[in-house]
Symmetry: none
Subunit: 701 residues, 2 copies
């Protein structure tokens, strides 16, 4: 019987692998799969976004937010039912000093990606294409470059073409060139195909001319319109939830054809399958949450593991070429930086670059993954309507631009690039006409009413550092060009002349100042001078721009505790912190991060509060608040007093909080208030989080 079971398992595993070229054509031109044996970083966070349900990382061992792995194998596969393509990657966690790492990591940062892509063409089906009893309008480009040569001398020119699908099945279509004006059509056979594949308007079909000359046909299903939560923008604030809490910031990755779908959607009188422009693109993945847990557990134990990646899930790749990550993280990312990011056009024929500005640099999930660069960048797009759901991106997905004015652009500035807007008269043109509404959603998390505040009020105490932006006036900054790559040590002279600030008239619609948001376009000063802090801690090099210390928002928020942290130039030894008694200790509360040692600047993004706190002091966070406040627990005598204090601080009822306050202690353990005696609590608690939603009771703190 054992033999029986085994053979059954084997059959199950015998799912056919398909031609990688067809796979890539179906996946889309933006999808870059790593080479076998190359090194990648695996991001549990990204994997979790790929899951169909919430992933509770509490149930598996702690692991680094990015795990260096060697790609042992890749299987390119397709769902037998839907033809949806996916890949199985077998990854082997490796140590940085492993031999096989050196081999790869020395390699290309902008390596030759010139594997010759075969000619392919994608078209989103129109109503007419998908109509029962209709044919398929073949775009001329496709007919002439992908299809077999048609003999135009015949009258009418007609041929039968054969196309293999992802399963190797062959489909026959009659290809005719007729009508006035002449056009290419697929007639006989098309309807069968549409019915068999259950295609609807909005789905895409991919034709590919394989290297051996065979014609292949693939399918990209239109993404179903999944409405996220009731508040599409509740995800603006990443703090307080782990990735299991659905929010736009994590799942709002859009590919270019999504963008085009949005545009196109206005064109469709009944494009029910497409996302309305303001729905949250909550991409529910196909991966089981347990599969993520399993992978993470194995990764944590340095065991080989397998992951499944759906390239067309609306989440970024979570296994990314190591060199790409490392190159990206050598940059010192700051708010205000201008970047561009590529999206694929609908027909897969070209890449559109969208421009944007980094609005802030902060870890996406400070509680769950305080040291993760995943979606580190909060961005604002020059065409906000098109990409409004893309709010957080990972650094390696964007490319910094040097020749653009490094000034914050209004969301209403005209698109930097000619985009194809639908031009039907029945299209409401939401995306085209700048509406002079207050851009509340872009600057202020529009869900502060979570905290029982009227949304309009947004008091400074609540908004924390973000709100502090409004306090500064707009400076006329002359900013350096930043290249992607490591800035040499010392203060390098700007290698480009300063560019005059461009201020658009649209600025008039904005709140007085956005300046703070863009105040930190700078180069890193790996200063050799160090100053003594009052507590005797050696201060790492300061980041200075025009004589001002430059801080990330988190650093700003931290300043209330009297500390600022700066990059530690020494990558080889652990930073030591004062425990307030003059002695030093190794810092706790931060997961091992050998990665950080190689990218010292990056530490700034997480070496923030807890480790530097005086004993008895504790950071207090509201769930979905970016920043916290410091509280001296030593002044309190009981949990009751704590509740009173918190009640005052956040103007909420004790009643609401009782069961919703979690804290992380000095060892990193997460506990509920009351889990230990109050005296122990005051000594060990380092970070305290007030959850507003009882359903998220056990998020990572």
């Amino acid at each position: 019987m054992i033999a029986f079971m085994e053979s059954k398992e084997q059959t199950k595993e015998m799912e056919k692998c398909l031609d990688p070229q067809l796979w890539h054509a179906c996946a889309g031109g933006m999808v870059q799969m790593p080479q076998v044996n190359s090194m990648v970083y695996y991001f549990p966070q990204g994997h979790a976004e790929h899951a169909c349900g919430p992933v509770n990382f509490m149930t598996c061992p702690k692991v680094q937010p990015l795990v260096l792995c060697r790609v042992e194998a890749i299987k390119y596969m397709a769902d037998p039912e839907t033809d949806e393509v996916y890949a199985k990657l077998r990854l082997i966690p490796v140590n940085r000093n492993d031999a096989d790492y050196a081999r790869d990591s020395a390699g290309d940062i902008n390596g030759s990606e010139s594997q010759d892509k075969p000619a392919s063409f994608a078209k989103t089906l129109t109503q007419s294409d998908a109509n029962n009893g209709g044919g398929f309008s073949v775009p001329r480009y496709c007919a002439e470059t992908i299809f077999p040569r048609l003999d135009y001398s015949a009258e009418p020119p007609v041929q039968n073409i054969l196309a293999k699908d992802v399963h190797g099945e062959t489909w026959k279509f009659r290809h005719i060139y007729r009508g006035t004006p002449r056009r290419h059509l697929l007639t006989t056979g098309w309807s069968t195909f549409v019915n068999h594949k259950k295609l609807v308007a909005g789905d895409s079909i991919v034709f590919l001319r394989a290297e051996n000359g065979d014609l292949c046909v693939g399918i990209r299903r239109a993404k179903k319109g999944l409405i996220g939560g009731p508040e599409a923008s509740s995800g603006w604030n990443p703090a307080g939830g782990n990735s299991s809490v659905p929010y736009g910031g994590l799942a709002a990755y859009l590919r270019g054809d999504d963008v085009n779908s949005l545009l196109r959607n206005g064109n469709n009188s009944n494009g029910l399958n497409l996302n309305p422009p303001n729905s949250s693109m909550m991409g529910k993945g196909k991966v089981r949450p347990e599969a993520v847990i399993e992978a993470v557990t194995l990764a944590a134990n340095k065991q080989p593991f397998e992951v499944v990646y759906y390239p067309r899930a609306s989440t970024p790749e979570y296994c990314v070429k190591a060199s790409l990550i490392e190159a990206a993280l050598h940059n010192r990312w700051c708010s205000g930086m201008r970047f561009k990011m590529p999206f694929e056009t609908e027909d897969s024929s070209r890449i559109s670059w969208f421009m944007g500005t980094i609005s802030s640099v902060q870890v996406a999930d400070p509680l769950g993954w305080p040291t993760s660069p995943w979606r580190l960048l909060q961005v604002m797009w020059d065409e906000p309507d098109l990409l409004q759901n893309v709010r957080r991106v990972s650094p390696w997905l964007v490319e910094l631009v040097s020749n653009m004015p490094a000034i914050h652009l209004s969301p209403f500035s005209p698109p930097r690039k000619k985009l194809r807007f639908p031009q039907h008269s029945d299209f409401p043109l939401d995306g085209q006409i700048p509406m002079p509404t207050f851009p509340n959603n872009l600057l202020v998390p529009n869900n502060k009413n979570l905290f029982s505040y009227p949304p309009e009020s947004s008091p400074a105490g609540m908004q924390g550092a973000r709100h502090a932006l409004y306090g500064l006036s707009l400076p006329s900054l002359h900013l350096n060009r930043l290249q992607s790559g490591l800035i040499p040590s010392g203060f390098p002279p700007p290698d480009h002349a300063a560019t005059p600030t461009r201020i658009t008239t649209n600025m008039l619609f904005q709140k007085p100042s956005m300046s703070e948001d863009v105040s930190c376009l700078l180069s890193m000063a790996n200063s050799t001078q160090s100053t003594k802090k009052p507590d005797g801690l050696k201060t790492p090099p300061q980041l200075v721009l025009f004589g001002q210390k430059i801080l990330t928002e988190q650093q700003i928020s931290m300043s209330s505790s009297g500390d600022t942290v700066s990059p530690d130039g020494n990558a080889d030894k652990l930073t030591k912190f004062s425990d307030g008694n003059g002695s030093t200790r190794h810092h706790h509360g931060l997961p091992e991060c050998s990665f950080c040692e190689r990218f010292p600047w990056y530490k700034d993004n997480y070496q923030e509060t807890e480790a530097n706190l005086e004993i008895g002091h504790c950071k207090v966070f509201m769930e979905s608040e970016d920043v916290g406040r410091t509280m001296d627990l030593s002044l309190l005598r009981s949990y009751d007093e704590l509740y009173r204090k918190l009640t005052d601080m956040f103007a909420i009822e004790k009643f609401e909080m009782l069961s919703h306050v979690l804290y992380r202690d000095i060892t990193g353990a997460v506990k509920h208030i009351g889990d230990e005696p109050f005296s122990d609590f005051t000594k060990t608690a380092r970070r305290l989080t007030i959850l507003m939603d009882s359903s998220s009771d056990n998020v990572g703190v």
Copy 2:
């Protein structure tokens, strides 16, 4: 997040339960689901028959062959794809002395099953019914009793009827009464239904008038013709294999409509989906083997567990009302008994009773479940062609008949009941014309060639007790009527005058004597006289008929060891056996069976060999042999000698056996030959089994 997970779990569990009445209509009238909170016996063996693959009970704890359980919950469900109905039963193992057992078990043995069944009707689709573009011929009965009243005054009488399927979806049909001669038809809407449900000729449709007046429609899929093994009758002999070895005896349960399908099959020019009359009805279930293991493991640990039951799998219910089992097992079953067994007719309108004779009483799987009453009875049918695959039934499925001549009937005796035979001229009438072929298949397991014997030879040594039947002459027996129920103690006078034996002319076609097979229709003598056995063991009451001890075949086979066992009138203490040294011990090798204590006679069926063996003696079984032989291991000095002895005994090559001899030792543990030193082996081995098929290496011994 736990809350979130839970709610998702709930959604998953929220699979809609459907109306139990519709469920029962789809399941068929023979299916009796227990009431919630009632007591049932759960049969792991039956559960295993329900699985889609072999179940290896070696991997789970030993458990009684029937586990008394309270039914905590029943969910009536339907497959969302196929509409196939199934039930989820949640069972809580209980002890016999538990309070809640007493409550129920005092209850009805022939309890009121008169839950008012709503009117329903089933029809197997004809070619015309299932044809594309055709309508559905509504049998008059169905139209008049199930469908809403039709206004016959209209010309033509026509109405639209709405019917809810198992998912609650409503289907609309045009019901018209037209044609010459007039008949009821479903036209518009029918084709949609057929296509949507993917119905083919041979599938059945069930219409049901629910209590609230709603019309419901359900589906019974035709059973796919699954060919069992290469030898359809290899399963005739149940010995030596556990239920994981597919054989007809276990999976050949036929419902009435199967029978009718068989009949009907001759009628269908292309009834490809139906079982040819001589194919083994190997009903591959839908339950995963692991699910069985899980259930058994939980049951063994007295934990609540859940089972899924597909009423239309071709296996009997494996959760049976406790009272039914207990009533059945109060009977003393003997070969030769006449019984009837109900099958449902195809249209579910009535029950057909098929008559048969018990050909032997022996546990179905002496190695895996030596104490199980599951399929205890080997039977011969008066209409063998119809039920040729039903060879073993469980006692509770049949009803003893008293007023029939208790004489073995020829397989060719005319059916006792008018059966609906197809009357088409193109039907070969296999079932109607008594063919004077030798009924070899009924008397002799026709696969003795497994043992390299020519099938004709059937030497006494091989056939064991079965063959001994031929040695006796046909007696003219005057037999008592046997009622189902417990016979009062003492020799009760026959309450009916003896009936003259009816011998049909068909007897001429039989072998000289079938008498032994029918020699044991008797009443149980719960004698107060007891005799001393030579070894000093108190002999339980003997079963005596006309001065002869009456033995089951197993008892006969056991007589070679010099022992006979008889019912122990004392239900409250464990029977003690001599160990051959004059001392007594509690018997080993038998799983706990509190059940048996209540049905002392039943012990005869398994308290056979091992416990009574002299030390050093061992029973030897060939796989799929009913009976074993006793071997004195103490005379052997090595495994080599053992092999030689076995080779002689069964005339097989040592080569074949080497790895295929298992044994069960005195503790019940199953081992391979060679697992322990020969000296230990000779002391402990109690039952030795030669497996002929290497694939079944790990069957339960």
